[in-house]
Chain length 250, copies 2
């Protein structure tokens, strides 16, 4: 793997798929550091730099996170595993150092930090993929954010948004179709006149996609997935957890 | 500008700076569409695809947004301007189409959609920059999310997270230094033993950076910036706005 690898970014983006099976091949430490350094040069609101990246090396911690994330074993087996955190703690410390009086709990500050964190992580994803590496976001760490907080010894004002596996791919999954741009890209106003038709067309596309990959065994649509996802409570502890961690109370 | 432009992504990331002055040169519509299509192929939690991109073409709308964002005239003058929205409305419609009962207000769903949106936008940023274009996120649209919601006719469950200018750069600003990795990248646990020393070193670096760019007129540090940002209420209407829009009530 070359460190300098020139790619066409848009083609790279369109070929994204999550990788959940990795070879044993390690990644040079200098490459990993460079990916994170590139990611942390990403745009940040008001220069807050509301992102902290925790490289989890301890095998026991990785095993615990793999389990709490729902048995995602690649959290243990990927060449490297990170937890990306939205961090207001550090900037609160800086505020204090400059004689300011940190106003905790502002919902706007939470939005800033969470967005900062996601922007930076996606830069890391593109960087990794540009080098031929595979990545997988692990939203499953939010199954038990309190335990993750304890494992990583996160102070208040730090929120573990997602995990992030990176390694050499040992699988070559298909790219999953996405909703048509007629639905997701709009002009001037949120006109949803054609959305249902677009969703129906996508449902059929996804039905064929799943059927093809299971020899016709799986009859599944995007709408059904959304019904399963949104038609019930989802991590109902999240609001209390975030407020307990000092976020978004006002 | 070539459509296919091979770049070293990590170098590209490290050279990021926001562009706030653009030439009049337009961008091919096919290139703009390709950037958005690439962005919407980004990883998404549970395939929610919680992102809607609104291309704002109407000059009056762009002028209104430039004003409410605090007089950011490049919102009007950039070759293209987008508002990136976290969208649970569309997936709620799909949930309904599949016979589900959308559980609104879940904080976890808000986190998913906001993160989805930011991940996708950052892919667009890297794609644009890989083509030699410049971008600028406009968090200032959150100065008045209610007005943006009205201007773009956003339904409930849609949150305009940030604006996004894209165009041919007509300036060449310096890359702003970032916090040292000794502070932002941690091993295994959130050990902040050396954070204050790292912040102090960064403060001196930023003081020199600002001084150099203002012939010594500006004496400014990151800590002071954080004190100004976090040492007061910030968009105190955000919690009520989001709840009114159907987000994060439980």
């Amino acid at each position: 793997m070359g460190r300098v690898s020139a790619v066409d970014v848009i083609s790279l983006l369109k070929s994204h798929r999550s990788i959940r099976k990795f070879t044993d091949e390690p990644i040079d430490e200098s490459v990993l550091t460079d990916i994170v350094a590139g990611a942390l040069a990403t745009a940040t609101s008001s220069n807050l730099q509301g992102t902290t990246v925790i490289r989890v090396r301890n095998p026991e911690t990785r095993a615990a996170i793999a389990t709490l994330a729902g048995g995602q074993t690649y959290v243990e087996t990927a060449a490297a595993f990170y937890v990306w955190c939205a961090d207001l703690h550090r900037s609160a410390v800086a505020c204090d150092m400059a004689g300011g009086d940190f106003h905790d709990g502002m919902t706007e500050h939470f939005v800033i930090a969470a967005v900062d964190c996601a922007l930076a992580a996606q830069s890391a994803a593109v960087a990794a993929e540009s080098l031929g590496l595979g990545i997988c976001y692990i939203g499953g760490i939010r199954n038990d954010p309190a335990q993750v907080t304890e494992l990583l010894q996160l102070p208040e004002q730090v929120f573990p948004v997602f995990g992030f596996c990176i390694g050499h791919p040992d699988q070559d999954p298909a790219v999953k179709p996405r909703l048509p741009l007629s639905v997701t890209l709009k002009d001037d106003v949120y006109d949803e006149t054609n959305d249902r038709a677009g969703i129906e067309a996508y449902d059929e596309q996804m039905r064929a996609y799943y059927s093809e990959r299971t020899n016709g065994k799986l009859d599944r649509t995007w709408s059904a997935d959304m019904s399963a996802l949104l038609g019930k409570e989802s991590r109902p502890f999240m609001k209390d957890y975030l407020e307990g961690q000092g976020f978004a109370t006002r």
